[in-house]
């Protein structure tokens, strides 16, 4: 979910020449909230927030009516309700979202096999080869939008451009329920007046670094020599941003993009001071991450720990392993060590997260002559096999046994990140 609340919406006139805008970026509008509205049609047109309903829950999605009050994703629910007290809060239903995600992705794939899903609710499409069958990119985009609406009742926004990042920026501008076509020759006119923060890959820190030097618009970046940008941002980022500012993005739509990280995080129902409680949570998350790694056939070269304290300061610490792993035991030991290294007795922990990064395809791994984790590997494989037959959770570490899920725990699967 973006910060976009629909203000400043920009959509294409029907007459624009779209033959060069063959890359589409399709983004579902307020996806989780819109799916929930299918079950609650009486709430249409009212502010609705989806997220953890207990005291410490966070917002995962909100309708545009709620966003106009300043509600944003990842915001604590208590804050969201202060901003928008009239909002209806609905709990999340992930299985519903993945069901609808599959349905809309299937609609995209009816148009072209070149579909690159970016997350559960957005994808890139390359429609260059679909033009003879289905018409111009704008026609294809409108066909998709109409089919998504008639098949699922959901709306989406589409950006069409000749480069991926321009298409993504265009769909953001078109939200909600719009289409914006940026033909190749109009790319620079589209980009240059936009603020640098609108560029894909420019986060808050980069944006501040650029603005401190008076670089506010993408046009300013384009007018700055790449060497100067490199001094501010480092060689790679400087050259890349300069290229993007000139609309240059060689990345193609690729149907197979390896996931770069997988993680879990959990906000405790109440701040935790007991380190044993934190370690148990780490063990549980390490286990989930490892199961997902093995299922997807990846091993991780780096594991990271995220801690958010009661005052919302957040730290992330990562550690690179000697050899990539997909074992819960190994991941747990590493994040526990990191945690023990940063732990102070007065800590009050609000959230912990475990993430596996630098994923590599496990089948291509060079095997090692000896494996210190061999016994654990056998054990975890056996658990995988048992889970396959009897369902998840039948076998788990003893310290996680017979502990009913604490009331008020709001768990977020932070999903594959790319």
């Amino acid at each position: 979910m973006s910060k976009n609340d629909g203000s400043g919406r920009q959509v294409s006139a029907t007459s624009v020449d779209d033959t060069t805008a063959t890359i589409l970026h399709i983004d579902m509008d307020a996806f989780f909230a819109s799916v929930e509205l299918l079950e609650h049609p009486e709430l249409r047109g009212t502010p609705v927030i989806v997220g953890g309903t207990a005291g410490r829950g966070v917002v995962t999605s909100a309708t545009y009516e709620a966003r106009r009050f300043g509600v944003r994703s990842a915001m604590p629910m208590s804050q969201a309700l202060r901003l928008c007290p009239k909002a209806t809060v609905l709990p999340s239903h992930y299985e519903r979202y993945s069901h609808f995600s599959r349905r809309v992705m299937d609609i995209f794939r009816d148009m072209t096999p070149l579909v690159e899903p970016l997350s559960i609710d957005e994808a890139f499409l390359d429609v260059a080869g679909a033009r003879r069958l289905f018409g111009s990119p704008a026609t294809i985009a409108e066909t998709i939008r109409a089919r998504v609406l008639s098949d699922t009742g959901l709306t989406c926004s589409v950006g069409a451009a000749s480069a991926k990042f321009v298409a993504k920026m265009a769909s953001t501008r078109a939200k909600p329920d719009g289409l914006l076509v940026v033909p190749a020759e109009a790319t620079l006119d589209f980009l240059h007046p936009l603020p640098v923060g609108a560029l894909w890959g420019v986060g808050r820190t980069t944006q501040e670094a650029l603005e401190r030097r008076g670089l506010r618009l993408i046009g300013d970046l384009a007018a700055t020599p790449p060497e100067v940008l490199s001094k501010v941002l480092g060689d790679a980022a400087g050259a890349k941003l300069h290229a993007l500012a000139w609309g240059i993005d060689a990345r193609r739509v690729s149907t197979h993009r390896p996931e770069k990280s997988m993680g879990h995080e959990n906000t405790f129902g109440a701040d935790v001071t007991d380190p044993e409680r934190v370690r148990r949570e780490l063990l549980g998350q390490a286990d989930r991450v490892a199961v997902r790694l093995r299922k997807a056939g990846y091993t991780a070269r780096t594991v990271s720990l995220k801690l958010r304290y009661a005052d919302f300061t957040t730290i992330t610490r990562s550690r690179t392993l000697g050899e990539p792993t997909d074992l819960a035991r190994r991941i747990y030991e590493e994040v526990r060590d990191i945690y023990d290294g940063v732990r102070r007795p007065s800590d009050r922990i609000r959230l912990v997260g475990v993430r596996a990064e630098h994923l590599v395809d496990a089948s291509g791994n060079q095997l090692s002559l000896w494996d210190p984790d061999e016994d654990w590997r056998e054990a975890e494989r056996a658990v995988d096999a048992a889970s396959m037959r009897f369902g998840r959770g039948v076998v788990k570490p003893a310290s996680l046994m017979s502990r009913p899920k604490p009331v008020g725990t709001d768990e977020v699967d932070t999903g594959p990140r790319r």
């Binding site: 000697g322 060079q366 002559l369």
Partner: protein
């Protein structure tokens, strides 16, 4: 301080002293070379708290003294001087180096802040330089270059009374070699171990390879142990890596009855050729049958390649998947016309048995040296 020295001798000494300096150092002062002029001549040394190098050369010393100067810069200058005696003198913080018609003025670094080089205790034994240098080059290829696990970035020296063992591994392969050595009066009947950073040991091997014998000393200072190698008025010391080296020697099979003998150069060339089409990190498939060896590069959509070469197989037909660079490292280290690849048995379906590479002086005669290189094959895809 003021002295003059032979240009070749001086240049060679400077180059030796800076060779082991780290490329980047956190403390600028450690990038310096310490030059000390005394009655007996000149001493040049460098030290970065891990590794030290020290050499003595003859010089006409007019005025004694100590000075610290940027090592890389002095080495660059020394290597380009014209063929004439080197005149070296200091005036406060200025150093002047002149040689023939060339003159350089350098700024000295604060010599008072330079750490003192480690003390070395009495000699522990004598090594034959050439066989030591060969053994180091054969074994160090298998050492890990990944600082995440420091213990395996070293070469483990296993020091007995009459033999010195060298072992290195990066988890994917293990290389071992034993050479004769003389512990002399220090003979104790026991084997001790020393874990030396592989990079340093490789430099030591190159530097001392033609020095006849190398004197070795192991010293314990405070908490850390260090090893010193000396020959020809040159000494290199290195801190030993702390920690326990993994017990990798037990990975070697006692006997193997399934093996192939191949011409080493043929196998190296074929491996290089066929792996041209491989993607990075991908493995080659080696199929051994009674008809010979087939190398195949598969699994890449862009291109495939295969090649057949002669191989004398004993035992069963065998297929293994090996990373080409790992195989080439072993083949490059056997130093023999033929090579034996032995296939160890395993009961683990998830892990093929390791391949043992040893030298072979002819098609049916095993090599005389005791170099062994054990390599873990990958799972066969498809």
């Amino acid at each position: 301080m003021k002295f003059s020295a032979n240009r070749d001798v001086f240049s060679e000494a400077v180059s030796f002293a800076v060779k082991l300096l780290p490329q980047r150092t956190t403390l600028p002062i450690l990038s310096g070379v310490l030059i000390e002029a005394t009655e007996s001549g000149l001493t040049l040394s460098s030290f970065d708290y891990e590794v030290s190098a020290r050499t003595e050369i003859d010089a006409d010393v007019e005025e004694q003294g100590r000075v610290l100067v940027s090592g890389r810069l002095l080495a660059d200058i020394a290597s380009r001087l014209p063929n004439a005696p080197v005149q070296f003198s200091t005036d406060a913080a200025r150093i002047s180096v002149s040689c023939g018609a060339a003159k350089f003025t350098l700024l000295s670094m604060p010599v008072e802040e330079y750490p003192s080089l480690p003390e070395i205790s009495a000699e522990s034994g004598l090594l034959p330089a050439d066989s030591f240098a060969t053994a180091v080059s054969q074994v160090a290829v298998a050492a890990s270059r990944d600082d995440v696990t420091p213990v395996i970035t070293g070469v483990q020296l296993e020091i007995g009374d009459t033999s010195l063992g060298l072992v290195a591994t990066d988890r994917y392969r293990v290389a071992v070699r034993e050479i004769d050595w003389d512990r002399g009066d220090n003979a104790s009947g026991e084997t001790s171990t020393a874990l030396v950073p592989a990079r340093t040991l490789q430099e030591i091997g190159k530097t001392f390879g033609h020095s006849g014998t190398i004197s070795v000393a192991i010293t314990a200072t405070d908490e850390r142990e260090l090893i010193a190698f000396s020959a020809n008025r040159k000494t290199v010391t290195s801190l030993l890596i702390k920690g326990n080296f993994p017990p990798v020697k037990r990975l070697f099979p006692e006997t193997v009855d399934n093996y192939a003998v191949i011409n080493t150069a043929d196998l190296i060339e074929a491996t290089r050729r066929v792996s041209l089409v491989l993607e990075r990190e991908a493995a080659l498939r080696f199929t051994f049958t009674i008809d010979g060896l087939t190398l195949e590069a598969i699994g890449s959509e862009q291109a495939q390649a295969s090649e057949n070469i002669d191989a004398l197989l004993t035992g069963n037909d065998t297929v293994v998947s090996l990373k080409p660079q790992f195989l080439l490292d072993g083949l490059g280290a056997v130093h023999s016309e033929f090579v034996r690849l032995s296939f160890t048995k395993t009961d683990n379906p998830n892990k093929p048995g390791p391949v043992l590479i040893t030298s072979q002086s002819s098609k049916d005669q095993a090599g005389a040296d005791n170099y062994r290189y054990l390599l873990q094959p990958n799972l066969l895809l498809r």
